[in-house]
Amino acid sequence: MLDFPRWRIWMLNTLIVVGMAFAIPSLLPTSMRAQLAQFMPTPTINLGLDLAGGSHILLEADTSQLAEARLEALEDSVRTAMRRAKPQIAIADVSRSNGELSFNVTDISKVDAAREVILPLISNNVGARDWNFGVNNGNRIVLSPANSGNETALDQAMDTAKDVIDRRINALGTLEPTIIRQGDNRIVVQVPGLDDPEALKALIGKTAKLEFKLVDEQADPDQTAQGKARVGSQVLPYPDNPTGLPYIAVRRLGGISGDKLVKADPTFDPQTNEPAVTIQFDSEGGQRFARMTQQNVNKLFAIVLDGQVISAPQIREPIFGGVSQISGSFTTESANALSISLRSGALPVDLTIVEERSVGPDLGADSIRRGVLAAVIGTTAILVLMFLVYGRFGMYANVALIINVLMILGVMSFANATLTLPGIAGFVLTIGAAVDANVLINERIREELKRGRRVVQAIEFGYKEASRAIFDANSTNVIAAVLLFIFGSGPIRGFAVVLMIGIVTSVFTAVTITRMWVSLWVKRTRPTELTI
């Protein structure tokens, strides 16, 4: 083991230096880090919210609602396509149930023509079908969702939702959010430094689906009050209805959706001086809006946000140019929030907050300060003890331990990993394992000396015999860490990541590096006696 070729020494030293270099940016104060960033990349360790303070919000998509929305959209496009087909294809008895859309083609001879119209609607751009096509009893067409269709739709919806949330939070200003998808139907939003997430929640929880629908002015108020609507109409909640009835009946069809906006800004209603929101459609949306208002002058239209009517003004004149104003009972804040939501687009799917955690910055700062203090005192105590018990070899172990800590920090910085409270537990465990490795080696060397071996041989045996136990102990930790990473959830995974990194660096520093130093020392001094 005295044989340490020069290239190997260089390689090991390079590894140490590189590993530790990555830790530097994380250890510098923020101001110095900013200066350093001008010359080199400065990857840093992120502090988890439990340490740094901030908000964590877990959102879950309502998959059944998404399926329902897809079905609705399919019905709309089928109806439109049938109406526009030349010659027109009459359909009847349209029903949506069990996630399927089915309808009768009135003229049985037109089933094939209907099929030709529908097929392009249900194929997606990669050639597969989003919906399965079937015909019952000769003329009843049944469209049932293909499995891949729902999955792709969810996947796309979640990606879009993530982008939308990103835009909305960015509109709030200088926050540095982390927004990641988790599993099939969840999104995690983490915002460091924000300890009162009320504004944030109001912003990201809203679907912000804006629709303009014609009011069913022939509806019987008594029926509406009971939630019943005529065929072709639906009853929607309308909390601010001037008539006092918290519901209103609107026509299902003939409205337009407000997703084709280029602008949305908070403003004040020039007549009432109350907060309002101005919106501007893109050219296509503007034309549709103009057509709708032109055809329905003097009628009432309802402005519907997330399935709830916010106001139902009268169309006094056709609105060209695509600019409109939404007024309701807004406050300045809610008008501002709505315009941000509208600008960043509607969420393609309803999201519910299923988990929320916020940690005040004072508590987080206190945790870090006292955690660091404890770590420094604890580590110093270990270093002193190691030196007192093992002398020179204890010093080797100590320097290796310090390098180990820096390397763990370095690797975590490089991987941009997040350090959380459970991560600190992982840290403590790996430092324990590193200390133990050196204790095992040194105790073994003592033992071999006691058995009468010469110094060099005792050191060789010490490293060799101890390696076996070190290997087994660390293998079990690796196994545990991998299993924890696979089966555990968030915080437990944080623990597992630190453990995996730490085991590798611990074995490297506590065994390989100390052995290099010991071998260099043995080569230089040729000791015949060893105090250990």
């Binding site: 083991m1 300890d195 955690g371 537990a425 490293y463 136990a469 079990t476 545990a480 924890l484 959830s489």
Partner: protein, 329 residues
């Protein structure tokens, strides 16, 4: 320079003499722990049962007015709160069940948090809200399920590894001592009523790691001695192995305990339970390696027939690894 020796060189303690007693005491303690968890239960945090937890510090008071809080928060109409001091005397956590229907409509949970915090702030101007956690029933069930699954998987995984690297008896011994350590820690949490949350699962995992480390070191020495002294009686062989590794056991346990003691004394209050769990685990883990993992080998009839030299698989791999570390003799 005269070096410090924590254990005298000629130490030869007959540890195994008390094995039956130790085992009986352990069984009683384990049964007590199970009984405690079954009757008194664990003080689960919102991570595992769902609900809302508000942490607050009364910055200008020496102690938090727990009784008064229980009344005022209880009178808000959301049911009775669970109020606990944690860490310093002036810090409390207030736990509430989520209001009915909050799974569908998170506004209800928000409204509750808003109402409680504004009540706190108006009654006590010095109050500082340190955090609000809301976890829905669905997520808490998942966190609990996944936490337990991770714990079981880790325990089973390492035991299987030990079984392959040693003999099946060693695998049984390892998993038994892990079960022992985890059960007693559960018992401790039930007895003291310390809050049991996700961080405690991480602490349990660390305990498992330490305990296993200890067990592996002793097992490694037992394996070595079994191959060296084929004629030695098992109890003496175990005693020899424990004594040979004793100075290492003491040194490592002391080293690891040092930062933990500091963490318990000076560490952040939020992790008091966490640090206590780990400190407790070191003690129990060290004990179980000597008094559970080792004697079980006698009862499972490990002896001179184990690790016969034809058994290539047990020693050779680690020796290769030893060479990889560079130790060519």
């Amino acid at each position: 320079m005269k070096l410090l020796k924590l254990v005298r060189d000629d130490t030869n303690i007959d540890f195994l003499k008390w094995r039956v007693w130790a085992f009986a005491i352990s069984l009683v303690l384990m049964a007590t722990s199970v009984g405690l968890v079954a009757t008194k239960g664990l003080n689960f945090g919102v991570d595992f049962i769902g609900g809302q937890m508000i942490r607050a510090t009364f910055t200008q008071s020496a102690t938090a007015p727990v009784t008064e809080l229980r009344e005022t928060v209880g009178s808000l109409g959301y049911g009775d709160p669970t109020i606990q001091r944690f860490g310093a005397e002036n810090q409390v956590s207030i736990r509430m069940k989520l209001p009915e229907g909050a799974d569908k409509n998170p506004e209800l949970a928000n409204a509750m948090a808003e109402k409680i915090t504004s009540k706190l702030k108006s009654d006590h101007p010095d109050v500082r809200i340190d955090g609000v956690d809301s976890v829905s029933g669905k997520v808490s069930e998942e966190l609990f399920g996944k936490g337990i699954l991770a714990l079981l998987a880790a325990m089973a995984g390492v035991s299987i590894y030990i079984w392959f690297r040693f003999e099946w008896q060693f695998g049984v011994g390892a998993i038994w001592s892990l079960v022992h350590d985890v059960t007693l820690t559960f018992g401790l949490f039930s007895l003291t009523g310390w809050e049991f949350d996700l961080n405690i699962i991480a602490a349990l995992l660390t305990i498992i790691g330490y305990s296993l480390n200890d067990t592996v070191v002793i097992y490694d020495r037992i394996r070595e001695n079994l191959m060296k002294f084929r004629k030695m009686e098992m109890a003496s062989l175990l005693n020899l192995s424990v004594n040979e590794t004793l100075s290492r056991t003491v040194m490592t346990s002391v080293s690891i305990s040092l930062p933990l003691i500091v963490l318990v004394l000076f560490g952040p209050d939020v992790i008091f339970g966490f640090s206590m769990a780990m400190a407790f685990g070191i003690v129990v883990g060290t004990y179980s390696s000597i008094y559970q993992a080792a004697p079980i080998l006698i009862w499972l009839k490990v002896g001179s027939h184990s690790f016969v030299p034809t058994d290539e698989g047990s020693g050779s791999m680690a020796e290769r690894i030893g060479e990889d570390f560079g130790a060519q003799p």
